[in-house]
Amino acid sequence: MRWTQRAFQTIATWVAALVCALLFVVALVTADPLPGPGEAVDAAARMAILALVWISAARIVLQHWWSGSGSRLSAMDPPARLLTAAVAALPERRREWGMAMTAELAEVPDRSTRWRFAISAVRATLWLPPAGGWPLLTLVAAAVVASVVVAGPAVGAAVPGLAVFAVAFTGLVGAMALRAVVRPRRLRLPVLAPSVLVALGVAASIAVTVIFLRSEPTTVEYLPPADAVFLAAVLAACLGAAVTAQRWLGTNRRAAHLGAGAGAAFAACFLLEIRIDTTDLTDTVKGLFTLPLVPLAIVLFFLPAVVTTMIDRSFRSGVQAAVWTVIATVPLTYTVWLPEGLRRHAIDGTLLDGAAGPVGTNLADARWALAAILLVGLPLAVIVAGLAATTRPAAAPAR
């Protein structure tokens, strides 16, 4: 198979389509009660739209990646590609070492020797000794296992229904800590304020979930184990992306600040809309205030991706801004949702969308909101960054 841009795009299209189809089948099979034919068709249509959004985003990312390092990678033979991929995963302090091996591979002439060289070098990158040393790694691993074992019963005793979440979240954060010991990156906090904002948002999300479940103990049934694991995974991913200085997320201060700021503004718009909706004002006056808030929140969500792409003249920066927007919006919106859901239900027995329903539904609705921001908001922001990149001024012709 020739690794052309078209081949990559075809694979990305199939992967996105298959994942969406799989999600749809799982959702359909596990639905209780099973949906009727009409509902199933509606769900299939929504899933098809979601698949289209992801396929479009993936193709745009591939197109930009191809114009950068992708075409270079495809020109390599399989041993070089294997070694390049392994070297890309090396921590920064060992990058030079990886580049040295890659450069030497270019000097190895015949195919079988190249394969032997590449496999041996990849094996060395995989068995890189942890920078903190094996004793530190053992210590951290023991601490992680102990925390996971203790977290379930301890949290379960204090907040019934949150044990699965506690185990999953502790395990995921522990895995990130282990990774930090095994493959430490250079400590850098060039985007301190956004990182702290996201970390506080995650902490607040956990706090409001605890408060919600303690205030309404009967709502435990609205946080089944699978949903608890989903919530833990989303919050841990936001925390991990914000505080571990991921290389792919870059050190673009503008992207981080704009993204985190947009997340905070989005959550503020959401809070304002709920608060206005529960005032004693007439419906007309409420509508006057709340009507602009929805488009404003949408604009705010996509603004960082557009602005960063255009100012930096870089699609990559736009994607970084989109990721920062999502990882800030997710925990902050969730943090607003649960307490406001409790407050609103105490006022008139309704949910945040105005419909009557049990208070526990807020837990499920808040998780749906997180899923929507991640699954729809993120690819749309990437598409928007891609569109903004097309408006870049053309480079001056080379003389």
Partner: protein, 120 residues
């Protein structure tokens, strides 16, 4: 600078190979071929030696167009001192082994019981 505590046989071979031509820059792959050491073993050794300040590294940009610059290695002053130590230790070990063989050859031979039985 941290001195190697107990260098492995392969590390010793690498240091001594570099000490053969201490002023010359060497490539990793060249050392792999010379010493018949796999790159997955060679590069971690070079990395550790460089970390310990025993190796000086550089990039060779004089490569054909389209190829990446190659990494170069040579011993630092401390590396050369270590090489001298290792060479001395190695020759001392060799002469000790040689004298042990000679004294074993000079000592009266013990008759192999199996041979004695066969001769009986």
């Amino acid at each position: 600078m941290t001195r190697l505590r107990r260098p492995s046989a392969q590390t010793v071979a690498v240091v001594l190979a570099l000490a053969d031509t201490p002023a010359a820059w060497r490539y990793g792959y060249q050392l792999c071929q010379q010493l018949d050491i796999k790159p997955g073993t060679m590069y971690p050794i070079l990395m550790r030696l460089a970390d310990q300040g025993l190796l000086e590294t550089g990039w060779d940009d004089a490569v054909p167009a389209g190829r990446p610059p190659r990494h170069l290695y040579r011993l630092t002053g401390s590396g050369r001192a270590l090489a001298t130590e290792l060479a001395a230790a190695q020759s001392a070990a060799q002469s000790a082994a040689q004298s042990a063989i000679q004294s074993a050859a000079a000592a009266p031979r013990r008759t192999d019981p199996k041979v004695r039985w066969q001769g009986a």
